[in-house]
Amino acid sequence: MKRILLPIGAAFVAAGLAISGTAAIAYDGTKCKAAGVCWEAKPGYPEKVAGSKYDPKHDPKELAKQQTALDGQSARNAKRAEHFKKTGKWVYDVSKL
């Protein structure tokens, strides 16, 4: 039995590898879970990277910086445009408004 089981086990392992390998080769971006959702993890790579060896470990504070910058710009621009509408003069330095 053992002699039989081992090859079967090995075959399973081999099949597993083969399935994995086949899937890697088969990944062509056309197997969609929903309209517009067609990405698949490549074999051996995680569906989610958080907690995996490929976790980019994003810092939420860093991720928030762009929007903070844009919000600040928009607020300053709004003050400048408002002043311009009232006076006809464009003043860039908001501390002078």
Binding site: A24, I25, A26, Y27, D28, G29, T30, C32, A34, A35, G36, V37, C38, W39, A41, K42, Y45, P46, E47, K48, V49, A50, Y54, P56, K57, H58, D59, P60, E62, L63, A64, K65, Q66, Q67, A69, L70, G72, Q73, S74, R76, N77, A78, R80, A81, E82, F84, K85, W90, Y92
Partner: protein
Amino acid sequence: MMKHLGKGLLAGASGVALVVAMASASLANDKLNELSKSNENWIMPGKNYSSQNYSPNTKINTENVKQLRAAWSFSTGLLHGHEGTPLVVNGVMYVHTSFPNNTFALDLNDPGHILWQHKPKQDPAARSVACCDLVNRGLAYWPGDGKVPALIIKTQLDGHLVALNAATGEEFWKVENGDIKVGQTLTQAPYVIKDLALVGSSGAELGVRGHTTAYDVKTGAQVWRVYATGPDNEVGLADDFNSANPHYGQKGLGTGTWEGDAWKIGGGTNWGWYAYDPETNLFHYGSGNPAPWNETMRPGDNKWTMTIWGRDADTGKAKFGYQKTPHDEWDYAGVNVMILSEQTDKAGKKRKLLTHPDRNGIVYTLDRENGDLISANKLDDTVNWVKQVDLKTGLPVRDPEFGTRMDHKGKEICPSAMGYHNQGHDSYDPTKELFFMGINHICMDWEPFMLPYRAGQFFVGATLWMYPGPKGDRQNYLGLGQIKAYNAITGEYKWDKMERFSVWGGTMSTAGNLVFYGTLDGFIKARNSDTGELLWKYKLPSGVIGHPMTYEHKGTQYVAIMYGVGGWPGVGLVFDLQDPTAGLGAVGAFKNLQNYTQMGGGLQVFSLDGKNPYDDVNIGEFEKG
């Protein structure tokens, strides 16, 4: 009753005001349209709203093009790469430059006299967050309305959008549209529709989340802003978004196809060219690559990066979005030119089309009214990451052999990250129904690596080696480009020619049966647009990464082109880099460019027999006032 009447009167008054405002806005459109029809003007980088870069002028043609000679020239005084092309409006030429983004107005009666110049003082730190040399792609013109003067609108690398009085060069307004501290820059030519100045964003190589913003040209006030990634209301999806093609995906995907908050640093900037159809009121452009380049770090389809958009000009809302390269693995940033045409499809139906040669090596043609995919053909038969694009699903059928991933070095991937087509502004001859496309012929090896996101720092995560494609000379690193004539309905190429280096800047075609383009090694060339036969060329002081334009002045047709090598292909040359993987892989591919050209920016103008304003030797002479 009085209150009611008052309300009615107010409503009526505001209705009248709205109608007047809309009429005024339409007037601006009409003025630009009218101006663009004249052979004497080139009022936007693509000549007209269709971005065809085509002139009906026949004064210079296949019979006499050999007589083209230098007419006059203008040095911009700057050394780095000069992309784009100047504008000509009512006898004045407006010339832009690389950083620090100076602007010059030249009188075409006496171009040796600078009418005005705008030289902004920018934080030099902007240079350090520029992705790929210090380029700028050009200017926009708004024609004025009698109360507000005509304006020249420009971008600065430091993230500012600036409106100048077109008559004087004085700043009319100046708004912040980016912050270099978090990597947000601007390199794009702004775009005017009605009374709106549209502008995109740059910085995806620093993880910048892309956006498009409209400002009121008269006041500088922000009217709307839409993003490439994030919640639907921020991406700006119309209620009927993709209703004609629901298989492209519809709602919830700007966050749902990203892991966690990765969409906040997901790229999708747009720094390429826009086109607009006044009849549909839709404008079109492409959002760029997802960030970082390392695909393993960002699972998902990464919508809506790499997308061809059809958005309403008044609201920014998207009627359709077609993602060309879902989950990009190669930096095939989708920002390239959109050229509008009206052609009959294979079924015999007249359609409003949009044609877009993409970085990913596919040239797409869509119905620009609803986003239907009409054709998607390879720019060259050596494209290998994709087997084909399924026209029914719109999906690229990838060849996994050329995919990229962590712990793997992908080899012989075609095209390279530069794409088989990059930022060049191409042309379309409506009489021949041919697109003339400047092509890169470059492939690459690609090896990703992990890196953390830090706002304002480069966020790429891949090492690249680039080299000529299979049709080039790999031993000598030459044969890196092509020029091709393409029919979007049949999918056939009428002719194609190899070039020593990329045809980076694009093409301009004319009714004189000609197609003009510049080369990185510093030539401007003219070919017979029917056959591709090379008819004329001229050696410029430096390499070309911009596109030619033409204008007529006092009965003479001129051809103009900016020179000044640089841009992504020129980073090794302009920054004296040696490591072949530097410049995101460009240094290796273009290591021989330095043997053909050197830095130096300017404008060269040509005419038949070199006819020019100074043929009258008294023009421009000193006269005591």
